[in-house]
Symmetry: C2
Subunit: 202 residues, 2 copies
């Protein structure tokens, strides 16, 4: 998670790049913005952008204060295989929200709900850097459907536990919540029948 | 759904009651506000409040522009029994969001995310008038956990399909989405193992 945090001693250049990145992402969306364009807007060499942030994804995470680095987190969650992925992902997601990163996640939810363009920007980032990574690892039909259904269960838990604070979800231990929703995620990821559109039909 | 809509020809009294109700709910919460208090604040007879809105729940639904009437909708969804409840509830929820009521639901989500007091107010209403009604019908342990887990899956679908518009959830037909999440809701409602806190343990 270090990559998205503030680094000391990098002077004003890093902040200048982040300000330029926010403008470029707001204008071109996640797909449209480029390292080259961000560098030009910040009047620095593109190599310096890569030096600080490694990738477009890294600039975006830092500029938007995203609470974790998908390029590191998702492969780590997938590494042990598909067995138990549902509960591992649930635990990771709840740990992020229960950590200081939760305030950043909450701020992101707030901006997505109040602004269509913020929602579109974050949607493109999450679809490409999180959902596509998960989908790629799945071995069944309709991996995008599966990944987005799992995301819907996670987002719903975030809304009820942290934003609306519905009991008993709000006060339950992280382990307990992960145990409750883990099997739902697992079913979306690995149950052949989970993407059927009605009983028994594909 | 008629009860929560605007009625023609009721002059300014109805609006006066609704304005008073919004103030009383904001001050006392859903639990704290009373028909008597709302009537006093609107300077009308409590009977007139009941004449227009039938119950505190009815005043609240109308004052907050809630997109359906839980007192009518939830018993109707429960009436055929627990078999198939998951998919019936999923269909109903998606129909509300796909209808003109969806804009009102969207406005409610926006207010809950941006204001803690709006979130608390709506949480108390939804917990008491929707989740408690569902929980009461369930025949297994921890009915509140079950109802709130089902709610988390529904809210997550609303967020991804209607607010953030993640594909393929955003463009899928209502029937398809209901078929995808129906089994998840059904499992939360009726699977004995759904509330276990880890594999095999209650």
């Amino acid at each position: 998670m270090a990559r998205t945090g503030r680094r000391p001693g990098t002077g004003g250049t890093r902040e200048k790049i982040l300000r330029a990145a926010r403008r470029q992402f707001a204008r071109g969306g996640y797909e449209g913005a480029t390292i080259r364009g961000i560098a030009a807007a910040a009047r620095v060499d593109p190599k310096l952008v890569l030096h600080y942030f490694e990738s477009k994804e890294g600039v975006f995470s830092a500029a938007m204060d995203f609470p974790f680095d998908p390029a590191a987190a998702i492969p780590a969650l997938l590494e042990p295989g598909l067995d138990g992925l549902g509960e591992r992902l649930a635990r990771f997601f709840i740990e992020v929200w229960d950590s200081p990163g939760g305030a950043r996640a909450h701020a992101i939810v707030r901006s997505m709900v109040s602004s269509d363009s913020a929602a579109a920007l974050m949607r493109d980032f999450v679809s490409r850097e999180i959902l596509a990574r998960l989908a790629q690892a799945l071995k069944l039909d309709r991996p995008q459907v599966r990944a987005s259904l799992a995301a819907s269960q996670l987002v719903g838990i975030a809304m009820l536990r942290y934003v609306v604070k519905v009991e008993p979800l709000a006060s339950a231990s992280p382990e307990r919540v992960a145990a409750w929703i883990g099997p739902t995620l697992q079913r979306y990821f690995t149950d052949p029948s989970a993407t059927r559109s009605s009983q028994g039909q594909p």
